[in-house]
């Protein structure tokens, strides 16, 4: 550039830069115009100096006359267009901004530092914006970046005023980050600008939502002021690093939100009304999705959007695309993408739904929703914040003679929230089990339930619980061998205690325990599931603990891990049953006196014709880890059709099944419908449905109902759940007796193979037959068993018939008479006698409720035996 080779002194270089900078500033030029002028002026200086080659080195003394001639003196007289300010050449900074007046400095401190800092602290404490619009500081990285804005504004203001030189590169980088962060947040808050302005103008508040935009303006201004104050050779460096910082932080913020934005785009496509787009969207989400974003959209009504949610929402408002996804649709989508029910996944802490004033400390403990919009409904729905199971115990008795067990599950729910909550759970009963007792503790006193039609008990519950907010508990049948339990209210900072009595048969000398299919509460971290069981023979608990003699019986207790609450293969085994071929009888406490003796006999049912098995296998991801042993079980079984259910239906071989990639949650209805159509055409067909959770009904089920309703051939459909979870499809078809639960698989492959084999071969087997007698005459005392036999018989009677007519008064009356929860009847406990009366219900007498039998001491037993013998002897003397 220079026209001669003479070197320049550093002072001369600096002087020239300063003079040129001031001139450019006075001309109010920027960008390329400024650069061009700089070049022209310098070139002019070089040309002038080249004409006077009388010094070996270009010094300030040589330069100054040239500059003066050009009107570029560092302390110039007023030139043509502007008055140049003074500069200080001794420092690396100009003094141009020293004249900043005090009032503007106050405003700078307020809007650039104090306001953003206050807003950040307020948001950290109250989550005001997070609860109302979106969470601007959803992660620690966001907090640090947002905090950078007031910090950097402080440093920039100080530097402008104090002339304190700093490391240009680092300072430029951080200042750029501050501008980048504030720019992104200004953009995020831009949609609120009109409302904020209106609020400020007319209501006097709204400054908080304006603060990001104001902070950005301040950060930009301070950045520019600082740059202008720098010496010309430092300013470009500062500018370069500032730009690097700005774009880097913008890239970082975008990167942080990218998974959410990608998932939003997938959700939008997957919920499109166009089938092709929806399929592509689903595939996109199955390929990759941000779990938190997907799950958060299942809790849309709870508020607490992420930045990605907010962008999506704003996009929807300004008409870019459909962005508000209905909860019901996203919950369905969640299952289709992940293969899991949305409420089986604990929402991540960082995506919390929050309430104004909740604060971050509470937020970090968030794991459930705040507002429960399913109170008194038929679904368990989302988990509710503050509600938890505090205690759990099962007490039970096994009578090996009658091959029956009776268990009482006592549950205590706690509520740490400030509002009453409803605890809901769907419970899987033991195979062929039936709820035969329901108790609620009111003011420490146990109250027994009234049993009546489902409609009547539900109405009473909704009236007393939801409207009057008193203390009821409701148990209704939700599917084969499963019940829905609801109790409301669990009082704020209080507890509610309920007990369910369950009568169930032993299966292969095992008494399976009930377990939770789905729940709307969390479980206390340190909860232990207490189990106490007694039997007339030695028993072994799931923990491996064996019983010890207890009176004339045997008992054992154990504290089981809380995992047992959800495990289907938890059972108490009976070492040697006393089952005999002789008939057993009981005195039926619910029957009329003239037929109060219920006699049970074992009959041999001859082998039937072999059955054609149609096996339907769920294509959901839940089966991915199990398909190996399922396929192995199928290897040695004769089946007529093997159908893969993957939103559609595909008949396949076992090898093809093994090779299949299981993904997402799949609609099984089309495959079941196909299986049913096939079974209808083949006599003696049975359908075995091996599946994961089906928490939602994806397809219209009317076609299936039609096939179940019509014709005379009604093949059974056996449900074999491989993983725990709700099965709405199964529950919805609860009224059809052909819907049956398959066996609980303990030794998975062996049990499944055995079940399939027996189902297919239809071999001879023992069945129970019942009869009534007037008196015990001719029956031996050792043939007499407990009255649970009567309840079990009644439960079996209730299962008879193909289709459940929930309005059948005889069936309702029968089930209620035997105090059973069946598809016809439910149980409800209300708080007061008046409430029972008001709803036409009558609670059972506590004496009529089933109990765990007390076993007498050996000495007492001996005395009883002697007494009985004496009385018999005396009778014989007459």
């Amino acid at each position: 550039m220079m026209l001669d080779d003479r070197p320049w002194s550093e002072a001369a270089k600096l002087r020239l830069d300063e003079a040129v900078d001031i001139h450019i500033r006075n001309e109010k030029l920027d960008g390329t115009d400024a650069e061009e002028l700089r070049e022209d002026l310098k070139h002019h200086v070089y040309e002038t100096l080249a004409e006077s080659e009388n010094e070996q080195i270009i010094s300030v003394s040589q330069l100054v006359p040239v500059l003066e001639k050009m009107g570029l003196n560092s302390q110039p007289k007023p030139n043509l267009y502007a008055k140049a300010p003074e500069i200080s050449l001794a420092k690396g900074y100009s003094d141009t901004k020293k004249s900043t007046d005090y009032s503007s400095s106050i405003l700078a401190w307020f809007f650039g530092v104090i306001l953003p800092a206050i807003v950040l602290i307020l948001e950290l404490i109250t989550s005001m914006c997070g609860a109302t619009f979106f969470d601007p500081i959803s992660s620690p990285i966001h907090v640090v970046l947002v905090a950078l804005v007031p910090v950097m504004n402080t440093l920039l203001i100080q530097s402008t005023h104090l002339d304190r030189p700093r490391s240009i590169k680092i300072f430029g980088l951080l200042a750029g980050c501050s501008v980048g962060v504030s720019a992104i947040y200004a953009l995020l808050f831009l949609p609120m600008l009109p409302l904020s302005l209106l609020a400020v103008l007319y209501l006097g508040f709204g400054l908080l939502s304006l603060s990001p935009i104001i902070a950005w303006l301040c950060a930009s201004k301070f950045n520019k002021n600082y740059r202008e104050k720098l010496a010309s050779h430092k300013a470009p460096l500062f500018k370069r690093y500032s730009r690097i910082g700005c774009w880097s932080v913008i890239a970082l913020l975008i990167l942080l939100e990218l998974p959410g934005i990608y998932t939003h785009s997938g959700i939008r496509r997957a919920l499109s009304s166009d089938a092709d787009t929806a399929a592509k969207g689903l595939a996109q989400l199955r390929f990759y999705h941000h779990s938190d974003t997907l799950l958060k959209n299942c809790y849309r009504s709870t508020g607490g959007n992420s930045i990605a949610d907010w962008l999506s929402l704003v996009g929807g408002i300004i008409g870019l695309e459909r962005q508000i996804f209905p909860e019901s649709e996203t919950r369905t989508l969640f299952f289709r993408v992940t293969g899991k029910p949305y409420n089986s996944v604990r929402p991540d802490k960082s995506i919390s739904a929050v309430g104004v004033g909740m604060g971050r400390r509470q937020r970090t403990n968030f794991d459930e929703v705040i507002w429960d919009n399913a109170i008194g409904g038929d679904h368990v729905a989302a988990r509710v914040k503050g509600l938890s199971m505090q205690q759990s115990r099962i007490d039970g008795h096994i009578d090996s003679k009658s091959s029956l067990g009776y268990s009482e599950w006592t549950l205590v729910f706690g509520n740490t929230s400030s509002r009453p909550q409803e605890a809901r759970l769907q419970m899987q009963l033991p195979p062929e089990g039936v709820v035969s007792r329901l108790t609620l503790w009111v003011n420490g006193e146990p109250r027994e339930a009234a049993f009546n039609s489902v409609a009547k008990v539900k109405k009473a519950y909704q009236s007393v619980a939801v409207i009057q907010r008193k203390d009821p508990v409701l148990v209704t049948s939700s599917g084969p061998d499963r019940v829905m339990v609801q109790c409301f209210p669990v009082p704020p900072s209080g507890e509610i205690k309920i007990r369910l009595g369950i009568t169930s048969p032993l299966v292969d000398q095992r008494l399976f325990t009930p377990y939770i299919l789905e729940q709307n509460f969390s479980v206390a971290k340190d909860l232990k599931h207490s189990l106490w069981m007694q039997g007339d023979v030695p028993i072994t608990l799931p923990s491996g603990q064996t019983s010890h003699p207890d009176g004339t019986a045997h008992s054992a207790s154990a504290q089981l891990a809380k995992d047992c609450l959800w495990q289907p293969d938890t059972f108490i085994s009976v070492s040697k049953a006393k089952v005999s071929d002789r008939p057993l009888y009981t005195i039926d406490p619910f029957a009329a006196p003239h037929k109060s003796i219920l006699l049970r006999q074992i009959e041999e049912k001859p082998a039937g014709p072999p059955r054609a098995l149609i096996v339907v296998v769920d294509g959901s991801v839940a089966l991915n880890d199990h398909i190996g042993w399922i396929a192995d079980s199928l290897e040695n079984v004769e089946f007529s059709h093997l159908i893969l259910a993957h939103d559609d239906k595909t008949e396949c071989s076992v090898e093809e099944l093994k090779a299949h990639t299981f993904s997402g949650g799949r609609d099984n209805a089309p495959a079941l419908l196909h299986a049913l159509s096939l079974a209808k055409t083949q006599p003696h067909s049975q359908i075995v449905w091996i599946h994961g959770p089906q928490p939602i009904i994806l397809d219209s089920t009317e076609s299936m109902r039609q096939l179940l309703d019509r014709g005379q051939n009604h093949p059974n459909i056996y449900s074999i759940p491989i993983e725990r979870g709700n099965n709405e499809l199964f529950n919805m078809l609860n009224g059809y007796r052909c819907m049956k639960m398959g066996p609980r698989l303990v030794e998975k492959q062996a049990d499944l193979a055995r079940f399939l084999k027996e189902l297919s071969e239809n071999p001879a087997r023992s069945i129970y037959s019942y009869s009534r007698r007037v008196s015990e005459e001719g029956l031996l005392p050792e043939q007499k068993v407990w009255d649970q036999l009567a309840r079990y018989w009644a439960a079996e009677e209730s299962r008879k018939g193909y289709l459940v007519d929930t309005n059948d008064p005889k069936k309702i009356s029968f089930a209620a008479q035997y105090q059973l929860v069946t598809p016809y009847s439910g149980a409800v406990v209300l708080e007061t006698a008046e409430q029972f009366k008001e709803h036409g219900l009558k609670p059972i007498d506590s004496n009529a409720a089933p109990n765990i039998p007390n076993t007498p001491e050996p000495t007492a037993s001996l005395l009883l035996l002697i007494g009985t013998l004496l009385s018999l002897t005396r009778r014989n003397r007459y």
Binding site: D40, H43, H44, T48, G71, L72, L80
Partner: protein, 118 residues
């Protein structure tokens, strides 16, 4: 009094400088330094050399002049300026107006002198 004069001369020079630049460039293409020297060498104009470049920049922005780089024998490439067609038209219009302005002023001056004589 001095302030008024300073402002007045400033305004007059500002207007006339643009005319000078366009006039010089309408005669021949010149590089920056040469052009500036040519302008400031005129004794009556009394402008600082550094003031010409911003004017050139503005004229360029208004498309009245164009610049291009041309190799120089005595150093790096020089930036040459040349007038554009619109610049030519503008220069002629300015010259015409300035002539009529000066003419008008002279006529005014003559009339005043005559009146004084009468």
């Amino acid at each position: 009094m001095d302030d008024l004069f300073d402002n007045w001369t400033l305004q007059v020079r500002k207007g006339i400088l643009e005319l000078c630049i366009l006039t010089l460039l309408s005669r021949e293409e010149m590089y920056g330094y040469e052009l500036v020297k040519a302008v400031v060498s005129q004794p009556g104009l009394q402008v600082a050399e550094g003031s010409i470049y911003p004017l050139l920049s503005r004229l360029k922005k208004q498309s009245f002049v164009e610049s291009y780089l041309k190799e120089s024998d005595s150093g790096p490439a020089r930036k040459y300026y040349k007038i554009t067609n619109s610049g030519e038209i503008q220069a002629k219009a300015m010259q015409s107006y300035f002539s009529s302005l000066v003419g008008g002023y002279e006529a005014l001056l003559n009339n005043t002198n005559n009146n004084d004589k009468i």
